[in-house]
Amino acid sequence: MPNFNAADTLFVLISASFVMLMSPGLALFYGGMVRKKNILSVLMQCFAALCLLSAAWVIFGYSLTFAPGSGFWGGLQWVVLKGVGFELFAEYSATVPNNVFMIYQCMFAVITPALIAGAFAERIRFSAYLLFTLLWSTFVYNPLCHWVWGSGGWLRNMGVLDFAGGIVVHTSAGIAALVMTLLIGRRKSLPHNPSPHNLPLVAIGTGLLWFGWFGFNAGSALGVNAVAVNAFIVTNSAAAASGISWCILEWVRNGKPTLFGLLTGCIAGLATITPCAGFVTPAAGLLIGFFASIVCFIGVALLKPKFNYDDSLDAFGVHGIGGIFGSLAVGLYASRSVNPAGADGYFYGNLRQLGIQTLGVLVTVLFVAIGTVVIYKLVDFFVRMRVDEEDELLGLDLSQHHERAYTILE
C-alpha cells in the first residue's frame, strides 16, 4: 500500500463533498434573487455545470490542469485519469493520494464557472451557456489554475500565494462576470432593478455556501493540521465580520439593515478570505472580513449604478471585487508564524509579497478578460448568446426549459 495518511485522506474526501454542496447552495443563492419566471433556468445552470464539468474534469480537465506539463497548462498523460490512482503525487500532497486530490479539485472546477452565471442571469440561451461554460473552463480556468497551483505553474514558482482560490476561483469568475455582463447587455424592460423573488431561498443558499466553504478553505490545507484548523477559524471569523459590517453600512446609509444585505456581506467575506484563510491569523481574518463588505458595498451599491452595467446578481461586485481585495490582502497580512509554507506579508516586513500578489492579480485580470471576450465572440457567432426579446419577457424557465417553478392554479 502507498504511504498515505488515513486521517488526511478522509478529511479531503469529506471536504470534497462539502464543496460539491456549494453548487446547489449557489443555485439557491442565485435562484432566490431572480424573478420567479427565471429561477429554474438559474438552478439548471448550476446543476448542469455540476454534471458537465465533473465529466470534463475526469476526461481531460484534471490532466490539462495538474499533470506536469508546459508553462501554459498541464499535460495529456493523465487523460481519463490514466495513471491517477491511489498513489501519492508528492508535489501536491505528501499524505493524500493523487485521485483524492483530483476529486477535491474537481469541485473547484465545477463551481468557478457556475459563479459567472450571476452576471448574465435571466437573458442567456441555455445552449450558449453550456458551450461557453465548457470552453471557459477548458481555456481559461484550466490554464490559470495550472499557473497558480499546478506542478511547474509559473505564478506558483514566482511565489504568488492563493490558499483556496481567491485568484483562481473568485478573481477569475468575477472578471469573467464583468466581461460577460458588458458584452451581453442589460436585461430588457427593467425600469428599475427587480426585487429578489424569494429571499428565504437566498438565505438557505447562503447557509449551504458558508457550510461548504469550510471544505473549500480548511480542506485546502489537504490534511488534518494546524493550518487547516486555522483556516476554518479564519473563514468563519471573516464571514461573521463581513456580515456585521454590511449591516452597519446599510443601517447608517439607508436607515435599516436588511437580511439580503447581511447575506451578501457574509458571502463577500467568504470570497475575500478565500486566498488568505491558510496564511493569516484569526484577528486578521476579522479585519479583512470587516473591510470586505465595505469594498464590495462600494462595488455593488455605488459603482454598478454609476456605470450602469447590469451584473444581475453581483457576481463581479461580490466575487470579483472580494477576490481581488482578498488576494491583495494576502500580501499585507500573511505570516509565516501561521503557515511556514507561506510567506510574510507587508505587515510582517515583506513588501515584496504585496508586489507579487499585485502582479498575480493583474495577470489574472488580463488573461481572464481577454480569454472571456474571445470565447464570448466565438459562442455568440455559432449559437447566439442571448435569447430573443420575446423569450426573455416570457421568462427563461418557459422559453428555455418548458417548465415553471410555481403555479397559480393547480
Partner: protein, 113 residues
C-alpha cells in the same frame, strides 16, 4: 362612472403605471392571473410528458373612474402596454352602478377619486 378592466403582459406593468400616474390616475388594483387569447398558451414538459396549451401569466388591472377620466385612462393603458405583438392584452370598460368609500361612507363620484 366606469370600471376599466385591463388584461396586460406582466412586464408592461411598470410602463402602464408610469403612464397612468402622468394622467393623475393614482388608484388601481393589480392582480396576477392566468389566461390566454390568440397566443394559445405555452408548451410545458414535465419528465418527458408534454402538455401544450398551458395558460400564460397575465396581469389584470381594475380602475374605477369618473366619466371625464375614461378616455385618458384607456389611452394611458394602451401607451404603456402596447408592443404591437400578439398577447398585448385587452381593455374592458363596464358601467359602474355605485361606489362606496368604506371609511367615510361617501357614495358616487366623490367616492371614486
Amino acid at each position: 362612472m366606469k370600471l376599466i378592466i385591463a388584461i396586460i403582459q406582466p412586464h408592461r406593468l411598470d410602463h402602464v403605471r408610469a403612464e397612468l400616474y402622468k394622467q393623475d390616475v393614482n388608484l388601481l388594483s393589480v392582480s396576477e392571473i392566468l389566461g390566454h387569447g390568440r397566443q394559445k398558451g405555452v408548451t410545458e414538459v414535465y419528465r418527458g410528458v408534454k402538455e401544450s396549451g398551458n395558460l400564460l401569466r397575465k396581469i389584470r388591472l381594475e380602475i374605477a373612474v369618473n366619466e371625464a377620466f375614461v378616455e385618458r385612462t384607456v389611452a394611458a393603458i394602451v401607451r404603456g402596454a402596447k408592443t404591437g405583438r400578439t398577447g398585448d392584452g385587452k381593455i374592458f370598460i363596464v358601467p359602474l352602478d355605485e361606489c362606496v368609500r368604506i371609511r367615510t361612507e361617501e357614495r358616487g363620484s366623490t367616492a371614486i377619486g
